[in-house]
Symmetry: C3
Subunit: 322 residues, 3 copies
């Protein structure tokens, strides 16, 4: 049984989109939708997690990701503790001691970001029964909340998943985002998922992922409904797999003119922050096809949804804070 | 039309005290006064901004200023996100992307501190209609909330502005505080504003500011009602404009005996943190003329006032949080 | 009269456990007990300090200790400001100015950690009448909240203090924790307190502390009911007082087999974070005798108790936040 589900098949933790069934994936999107209305209002908080404690435990610095989880928790009226961990100053063994200590302070949820694949699951296996772990990115493995906000944005723009062709462009190999997207979109029934990258930036297990592989951008973009550009993660690449940023842009950078091969109504997505002129042209990023900022907005609702679900709190009738 | 006002002449952002009319400046002071009572109580919070999100976006480190804005926002029951930005790690273009991203998280207000003049206005020009920008100090340009808390403190101590002589002593040239004070106090109708500094520490446009210039401290202090010492901003001075701290103190440092030239009831102000024995003698800073700590207290009420005004929230009948 | 008590003998500040009478020490434990039930619930907050401002003023970095105070304050619904002070960037004189400034912002409580003994008392002597100071560790002097949570844990496990033999093992000399424990446990009437350490790690005034001194671990542990291991504070030791960690473990490290000399029901405590294999063996730390994680949990309730007591807030009938 998956460590992230309880015996009733409900979310206990949120570690990966791999293996989640369509019903559960859809329930996450539906729950997020119920929060989306709240976020647009001037009063954005609901008291669903009042009195609960969420610990942001970041072993890898990321102001942006930390901020979205912090905001989601605060809009649920939870108390938030930010703990930045300097891994150079902490020995391996004491990580578990750190978790036990924070847990002994009666934290209800840990949001964990770590540069080691599997770190979030390791923590999930060791927390007490009532405590939930959310994976905010672990090594090259998974970034499941990012994948779910992407799925939410696609459904918001396109309605049904089944008829869609979705292309993911860029460094698939080192991208936890791409991996989580592929699992989520396959789970939700997307008709065809393509990955577009040079062979050096494809993962060794690409044949097992349920995707079509394209090396050529023009061919890969033909007739797609959704194009997802990945961020060029220079810090994650080992060795000289790429000939340089301008060379990358020339072959794999997204532009308005290249998008002409896609469906006329195709949308463009990016997990951010964007490297303008590397993965994507500014004109395209800021143009009408781009839903990049919608993704950011939807990220709050998705994280609110997952936070309530893993704690078993019913968000169906969110009352406003008084 | 000024970017900081809407079409009804109401505050949309708060970027500078320059060009604000006396009615609006007075309304800020009056609104702050309505909050001052709240601050003195044991329960200091009002729910006026409950459910709103305030982002402290500090490109320049300042624990002190960040703290005052954070406190003001929390006393209005807003959620506060502190984002410290390392400008050495961020490229110019992506600043706007950062703003758009934070805005997409449905932030309601940005409090921005930046070492470049005009940064706050740049952000104000690019945010969405419902979002407000507060300038918490931009380069040498402006620090308008500091100027307003100074005006508040002067009114609290002296009543009317018209009969007053106010002297500002120190490095006028590199001081965003002095610039904002001069605009605010002129706008509020102060009878005479003097600046006292060596020519090397006067701005090139000093003739256009509506102030009397004195190089000599003794002459400048004669009969003044209010003396404002500026902090010696050593980090802002380019080149050797000053012969050293003790030399500065000998010529421009404020002491009890030098204050004898002023009005017997003259008060002494300083934006803090003070360099004792450089701009001001300890005996004077801690003595009965000093209202330096009143300034700090008033800074919370002023920031609460401006935060509610830019969001169009009526603070006339603040209810206590329940 | 002690600076930490008012004229009615009630807590005004919490600086040290030295000199506190048994009634007051017991009242702290009883008050904490009233909060312990709250902490175990899913809604963990009470509105007792709503609208109050707690400033965590940490001159010495400690994520762990800061976190416990932040959590305690948030569970009382206080607003919390975290201020990390870089002492290398601050001159001695301006510390008092910093305190006055934060106080002028109408803070209600300062939680101070500093590497100089006496720092908390210095601040307590200079704050305004309504403002409370809590010592979160000052140099080698005191860490009184740690001592009280230890006393709470002992009472929770053992009931009465009078019949107990308690042994404190390790670097007594450089331990503010040990010093505060000895004062608290003597005040609460513990039958016998032993310290176990090599002479080089005993304080010069050990004869005045009301403890039995043992150099030999086996002899010191005989028939004790409670064993408290201290953390090896390598950063606090000047010079080569210790021959190395493995040598230390061989002589003073706690293990299951060495604990056989103690009472069969003896418990093992540690203020954390533990150095496994240095002060304590993993088997023992994770075994049934260990109450190390209970100590962490109890630390929240103890800090909630002290925070309400120094502000004169009655926690007898804590209502849940609504």
């Amino acid at each position: 049984m998956s460590v992230q589900l309880n015996e009733h098949g409900e979310l206990r933790h949120f570690l990966t989109t791999e293996g989640l069934d369509p019903q559960l994936l859809t329930r996450i999107l539906d729950t997020a939708e119920s929060f989306a209305g709240v976020i647009g209002k001037s009063i954005k908080t609901v008291p669903l997690l009042r009195g609960r404690t969420v610990v942001n435990l970041f072993f890898e610095s990321s102001t942006r990701t930390r901020t979205t989880f912090e905001l989601a928790a605060k809009r649920l009226s939870a108390d938030v503790l930010n703990v930045a961990v300097d891994t150079t100053a902490t020995k391996g063994e004491s990580l578990l001691d750190m978790l036990r200590n924070l847990q002994a302070m009666q934290a209800d949820m840990f949001v964990i970001r770590h540069d080691q694949s599997g770190a979030a699951e390791y923590f999930a296996r060791h927390v007490d029964p009532g405590v939930a772990v959310l994976n905010a990115g672990d090594g090259w493995h998974a970034h499941p909340t990012q994948a779910m906000l992407d799925a939410y944005t696609i459904r918001q723009q396109k309605g049904a998943f089944e008829p869609l062709r979705v292309a993911i462009v860029g460094d698939i190999r080192h991208s936890r985002v791409a991996r989580s997207q592929i699992h989520a979109l396959n789970g939700l029934g997307v008709g065809e998922i393509r990955v577009i990258a040079p062979n050096t930036l494809l993962p060794a297990d690409v044949d097992t992922l349920g995707v079509q592989v394209y090396n050529d951008l023009g061919a890969g973009l033909r007739d797609v409904d959704v194009v997802i550009a990945l961020r060029l993660q220079r810090e994650r690449m080992q060795g000289a797999l790429l000939p340089g940023e301008s060379e990358y842009f020339r072959h794999y950078g997204l532009t308005e003119s290249r998008l002409r091969a896609a469906h006329p109504e195709a949308i463009v997505m990016h997990p951010g922050p964007i490297n303008r002129g590397v993965e994507i042209d500014s004109e395209l990023a800021d143009g009408p096809r781009s839903v990049i900022l919608d993704q950011v907005t939807n990220g709050i609702a998705i994280r609110m949804a997952i936070m309530t679900m893993v704690l078993g709190v019913q968000p169906e009738t969110p009352r406003e804070a008084t």
